[in-house]
Amino acid sequence: MADRSLAQILAQLKQAPQMSYPEASALLSKAKLILLSLNALTPTSSTPPNLLALARETYEQGALFSIRAKNADAFTRYVQQLQPFYELPSVTLPPNIPERNKVTGLSLLLLLTQGRYAEFHSELESLANRDGGGTDVEGDRYLGYPVRLERWLMEGSYDRVWKAMKSSEVPCDEYSVFSEILKNQIRSEIASSSERAYPSLPISSTKSLLFLNSEGEVIQFAKHRGWVVKEGHIYFPNTAADGSEDGAYAKDVSQMIMENTLGYARELETIV
């Protein structure tokens, strides 16, 4: 009885991915209530397999809906709840690999945009041991995407990241939610490296460098960063900052040496 109505709700959710978030979450909470009454919110050894599959599907739908609504907290919660289901051996619960990788890929991307690299890599490490086809992480459509993005971000090939976000490489709609965040992230990365790398930049080429659409946007961006725009060139006000930094630095060195030497003297005293 109960699981039939659960299956109905799930079918409803799947058919209409463009459903508004409040509607969807109302349906989802109904589904979760049914799961609770069936005692299948978390997998136990006595839970029947068809119920496990339904529970997993509920969480997966929940995760997808919350990411469409850009609700990162709810998404993380759903992913956490999915974790024990993904850990189940394939005999108990045959894995639904595309859906699983989709959700995992999204959570990886979320970690990446939030700059939580340590967790990103811990997660990545555990993927290789997954039951059933988890071995080829890079080759997978959903998982490969965040992995490649991370690599490019780390080495600094921002143009590739840009292209990957623009082109059809994005595996599905949900992934484009992160594009806006990533765009801003890249732009500020490029800006901070340009400040150190170039003495000056012509406005026209800055436009393409920062992936902006017009020169007006460039000037706006430059103002925002505190850059000086003069005669069609952008100058970076970093020389002044460097001078004061040097003074602090020199003072720092002498103080450090003094501290070290005093430390050695103290240690020597304890030894002798």
């Binding site: 690299y117 811990s122 490490e125 080495e155 143009d159 340009s194 170039y198 460098l209």
Partner: protein
């Protein structure tokens, strides 16, 4: 007391070296010192049959265990454990059964334990008490057990002995590759240990859990799969850890933490491992080997979490703490491999001498190729090295870490180019480093400049990179820092050596007493001086005495 000390010393030096030929002699001084074991009966037969000798060796360890209980000193138990590696070669069901039969008597209360031990080695129908093992049990020391709660009868076998026999059974089952049987037996043994609360059992029980988890690792499905039995024993180990912490049982604590970490890492549960580390405190005075293992696993976790500096620190300590003799080559190889990768990730190039050590040379060859590719900054070489050795790297568990090295290769390449050319076009950089496009090259170089890898500027209009003059290294803080690091390492070494020294118990009380006496003498002297009946010669002599 003074008569006993030299005998003890002689005993000590013997066990440290333990040449196999001398083992037959070992029981003799031990027996003399305690006066409770009469081993002389076996002596003539020892050269005849290795099995008989093995039985004798096993039994000689009981004396050590007895002494450990009597004197409440874990060193004797450790010595008994150390001798397992010697006995190991001669272990067979018959040897173990013989030792058990000689030890336990059919009538005693512990005969059920003996039966369990016997059934584990498949000799359940051997009758107990045949060998009149009375000589073993009758010892005056067992009565003086410091664990006052349980008053032992003279005939009762101390639990240490039966656990020791249990460990021997575990070792035998492991060598015989009967893993399932071993796991079952270990379960029984660990259950039994948990019912006993004796501090003299600590180092033995640590060993029992070690074998328990080792057995589980070898039972199919093998570890990376989530169905492996190692996942199932986690709750048991965690419970054991909790009990060990409550009982301040540092041996078990250290060994179980290490086992759990290993357990989590085998199934790549990095997060859980990290949480375990942050929620537990590794005992400070744990055995050196356990510390080395713990540091290795910690280094591994930190490396995965991109905390390379910490990882480097832990792994360096782990490789240094690893025993330098041949018995732990595997550990130092694994630790060194990981250390090399972490060093590369930090942007350092490992010392070439590391690859020349005879025990490491072969194992490290793939890593040598890798280091070479990174050092030159050749992306093509790097990719082929990875492709060629992917299987080895995957087996070592360093593959994902090595994949992260790509950016380091590029950075090194850029650094090499910036050192060799004062001005180079982005197109050339792109071609030499095999980067996808000129734009990529530009972004990458800009990032390298920002990260402080190179000192250079870019010219966007003309499309080249101009290197700045390299400054004098000695004008920077670099040499000072290197010097500071070395001094710190030396000081830490000194501190650790001081900590590692073993101080005899209660010695400080003796000193206190001496000090008190000296003070009293001084007071007397002062009194005498006051009274004026002390001449200078007298005073000088007294001062020398102090």
């Amino acid at each position: 007391m003074p008569g006993k000390t030299p005998a003890k010393d002689g005993d000590d030096s013997m066990t440290v070296v333990v040449p196999p030929s001398k083992t037959s002699k070992q029981p003799a001084p031990a027996a003399d010192a305690e006066g409770d074991v009469a081993m002389d009966v076996d002596k003539p037969e020892e050269k005849v049959d290795p099995a008989v000798q093995a039985v004798a060796d096993i039994k000689s360890n009981f004396a050590l265990l007895d002494r450990a209980v009597a004197l409440f000193d874990a060193r004797f138990s450790l010595r008994a454990l150390r001798s397992i590696s010697l006995i190991r070669k001669h272990l067979s069901p018959d040897v173990i059964a013989q030792a058990i039969v000689d030890t336990f008597q059919a009538s005693s209360a512990s005969s059920s334990i003996a039966k369990n031990l016997l059934s584990a080695v498949g000799r359940e129908n051997v009758a107990l008490g045949r060998g009149a093992g009375a000589e073993m049990e009758v010892d005056s020391d067992a009565k003086a057990t410091k664990n006052g709660t349980s008053k032992k009868e003279a005939k009762e076998i101390i639990p240490e002995i039966d656990v020791f026999l249990g460990i021997l059974v575990q070792v035998y089952l492991f060598d015989a590759k009967s893993f399932q049987q071993g796991a079952d037996f270990s379960k029984y043994l660990s259950d039994r240990i948990q019912t006993l609360n004796r501090r003299t059992l600590d180092c033995l029980s640590a060993k029992v859990y070690f074998y328990f988890s080792l057995f589980c690792e070898y039972i199919a499905p093998l570890p990376p799969s989530p169905e492996s039995p190692i996942v199932a024993i986690r709750p048991t180990l965690l419970a054991v850890l909790r009990t060990a912490v409550l009982r301040k049982d540092t041996d078990t604590q250290a060994s179980v933490i290490v086992l759990l970490l290993r357990n989590y890492l085998l199934t790549s549960h990095i997060k859980q491992a990290d949480l375990l580390v942050s929620h537990t405190q590794f005992p400070e005075n744990a055995a050196n080997n356990q510390v080395a293992r713990f540091l290795y696993y910690l280094g591994r976790i930190r490396a995965i979490q991109l905390r390379y500096t910490e990882a480097h620190e832990h792994l360096t300590a782990a490789t240094r703490k690893a025993p330098s003799s041949g018995c732990a080559v595997g550990f130092s190889q694994t630790a060194t491999k990981l250390l090399l990768v972490v060093e590369l990730l930090m942007g350092d190039i490992p010392d070439r001498a590391t690859f020349r050590q005879p025990s490491l040379e072969d194992a490290l060859h793939p890593y040598f190729l890798l280091v070479r590719a990174v050092r030159v900054g050749n992306l093509e070489d790097f990719e082929t090295t990875i492709a060629d050795n992917a299987d080895i790297f995957k087996r070592d568990g360093t593959y994902t870490l090595i994949l992260r090295l790509r950016q380091n290769v590029i950075k090194t390449g850029i650094r090499m180019m910036s050192l060799s050319y004062s001005r180079i076009s982005l197109r050339d950089i792109c071609i030499r480093l095999h980067l996808g496009s000129e734009e990529s090259a530009e972004y990458i170089v800009a990032k390298a400049i920002r990260d402080g890898v190179i000192e250079a500027t870019l010219d966007r209009e003309k499309g080249f990179m101009k290197s700045k003059e390299v400054g004098d290294v000695y004008a920077t803080r670099e040499p000072g820092e290197a010097f500071h690091d070395r001094i710190r390492a030396c000081l830490a070494l000194h501190d650790e050596s001081v900590k590692a020294m073993r101080f005899p118990m209660n010695q400080h009380r003796l000193e206190l007493k001496n000090a008190q006496e000296a003070r009293e003498r001084e007071r007397e002297m002062a009194k005498e001086i006051q009274e004026g009946d002390l001449d200078d010669d007298d005073l000088g002599g007294d001062l020398d005495g102090i």
